[in-house]
Symmetry: C2
Subunit: 358 residues, 2 copies
DNA sequence: CCGGTTTAGCAAACCGGTTTAGTAAAGGTA
DNA sequence: TACCTTTACTAAACCGGTTTGCTAAACCGG
């Protein structure tokens, strides 16, 4: 049998040893005022000497709550933890959760099934990040009566509380910045969903950012053709491949709009390998503002989003949903993005612009 | 009452609706071969239509296991998640845990008490990182009959399985490298424990690395005086402050041995502000080899340790301890470190060396 | 000294499942 | 037809706590 069972002191053991009922032992811990002070003390002493601690699972069962929050992600933990973005988000969630005395459980697919993971999860509610509309688990959670806060996919689940950032506005800022620098030839580098089949789209981020780019460019009279939008894995290598591939296909952008900083950095590397100077020959603007972006050469111009605050807000919404228990109109919050101009963007190269003609 | 209770289907509901006993419903899910095929199907259909899922907590209670692993840290999650080191470690643990179908729960102090957090934790075992000898929670866990794997503090808890890296050897490599470059004037920058009182020492890392530095230097006839060892918070700012402070106190090292990359980077920044060139005037060698170190200018020479593998190994040890249930002699594993020479270390400056005289 | 209130503690029900031991009916054999 | 298996299912015990309702003793004022 399990070792745990073998040598762990149970409440009945303490009761017997102290010559009282189980009730008294329970009271000694949770309701001492219902016992005479010396009895309470005696019971607690016996408990300590036996090394008794209430079994947390049994406690959860009777109290009907776990004091645990779940962070739900459709990707394997071993991949999300490699993403500094995710860590920072978790940091935000953790800060608020710990303050409220809640623990954190990470819920990721069990042998490929997110649904099974959700069923196993002993939590009072979920914060879901990167879930796109086609995830039936959300409905499953709703039916289980557990609250869930959506992050980065408000639009797909209007009936749940949600936290988003203004992706579209941020994309507009990025595009506007490059337009103001005189650029007319753009390449957009997008992130492709990790699961090939489903056009998961990370809850719509890609669509919203693309929309922002498109509209801002359109306002300046530039129509972003489909072959000026390429996608790849959200990594440095993915970004390199995107730019290199587009170049090979004959694209000659003077400005690159990347939907992630990692890809932007990859694009810079690729540009350099093509003999281009950044930003003299080609400008690159990222998205997210990860730590690394500040440190590369040249420092990356990018759109900052408040990742940690996203986590904090999501956690707050979840806690209040748990506390209220009933759900009034779900609270949707949108956090602002802002452009951070550093060294990877500069004026459009005059010569080329002329040479490229228009 | 809790919403969960209000509208969640229980096993009894399914039983009633299907006209069978609770036992039958349980069998339909866990032991279908003990039921006639059509009864099993019917029960499952009813269950689905009612949106029934077995209550995970109840299940844990009867099965006596949680299928969850705990990662134990004496610091708040909101701080550890800011540490890329921790993320990478978690990545390793997660990879192995997910493979085995285990979930991950993060156990950090609840309102300052790690003991309470441990009591609340519904896990089958712990991986503890950064725990020093004076942590009574380890004994508490042992008495609860749960296995625990120590990371980076094997020496303090010989009775538990453990994973370490060869900190001492790595420190030797770093010091040896600088000695070979002709350096004679050293400054060691160490990390100070986050909790001021306890000289926690992160489970002995600081001591082991310092020992390595000391011995290697001693072998070259250099005695590392106490005022050539300074400590600060394990951050970029902490590193800056350390070097700046030491400089102010009259130290004039040509070589800095930092116990963390973040601090090494801080030291480089501080050196620059003092008008020193790296590595022409002063060499800096870090420890850990974080992602960022590769990207700064100049790229950091540092001691690499296999952080992700540390997580993987720790998780494997834990899983096998859980499976065996009894504990034979605890398995202690030491992973190798290696020196990565990049741009922040160079020959000792001749002029100064002469001027400094010895 | 009596009736009413407070105090201290207990037995039993409960949380929501799993598992053991057992039974009634169907099927098979002599 | 009587007897033994097998099949299909159930009642009750159990996991380890918490909580409700109750009782007996102590206390208290008149």
């Amino acid at each position: 049998m399990r070792q745990e069972t073998r040598d762990r002191a149970r409440i009945a053991d303490v009761a017997r040893e102290a010559g009282v009922s189980k009730t008294a032992v329970s009271f000694a811990f949770n309701n001492p005022e219902r016992l005479s002070p010396d009895t309470a003390t005696r019971i607690r002493d016996v408990a300590t000497s036996l090394g008794y601690r209430p079994h947390p699972v049994a406690r959860m069962l009777t109290q009907g709550r776990t004091r645990t929050l779940g962070i739900l992600t459709p990707q394997a933990l071993s991949v999300v933890f490699a993403n500094p973005f995710f860590s920072t988000f978790s940091e935000g969630v953790a800060a608020v959760a710990e303050e409220a005395g809640y623990g954190l459980f990470f819920v990721s697919p069990v042998h490929g099934s997110l649904a099974r993971a959700v069923n196993r999860a002993t939590v009072d509610g979920f914060v879901a990040i990167g879930l796109s509309e086609d995830h039936p688990e959300v409905e499953q959670i709703r039916r289980a009566g557990l609250p869930i806060v959506m992050v980065d996919s408000a639009a797909a689940f209007p009936e749940h509380p949600a936290v988003d950032v203004d992706d579209e506005g941020g994309a507009r800022l990025a595009a506007g910045h490059l337009l103001a620098l005189g650029h007319r030839e753009f390449l957009v580098i997008g992130v492709e969903p990790p699961t090939p089949g489903a056009h998961a789209d990370f809850g719509g981020i890609v669509g919203r950012r693309l929309k922002g780019y498109r509209e801002e460019l359109a306002a300046a009279g530039i129509d972003l053709a489909d072959d000026h939008v390429v996608v790849g894995p959200a990594s440095v290598e993915g970004g390199s491949a995107c730019l290199a591939g587009a170049w090979e296909d004959g694209r000659r952008p003077t400005a690159v709009l990347a939907m992630s900083d990692a890809m932007a950095i990859g694009a810079i590397n690729a540009a350099r390998r093509l003999g281009l100077r950044v930003p003299a020959d080609i400008s690159v603007v990222g998205f997210d503002d990860i730590e690394l972006s500040r440190h590369i050469e040249p420092p990356l111009t990018t759109v900052h989003q408040p990742v940690r605050r996203k986590g904090e807000e999501a956690c707050r919404l979840l806690l209040s949903a748990i506390a209220r228990d009933d759900s009034p109109r779900p609270d949707h919050r949108t956090l602002e993005t802002r452009l951070i101009v550093r060294g990877s963007s500069g004026p459009a190269p005059i010569g080329k612009e002329v040479a490229g003609g228009r």
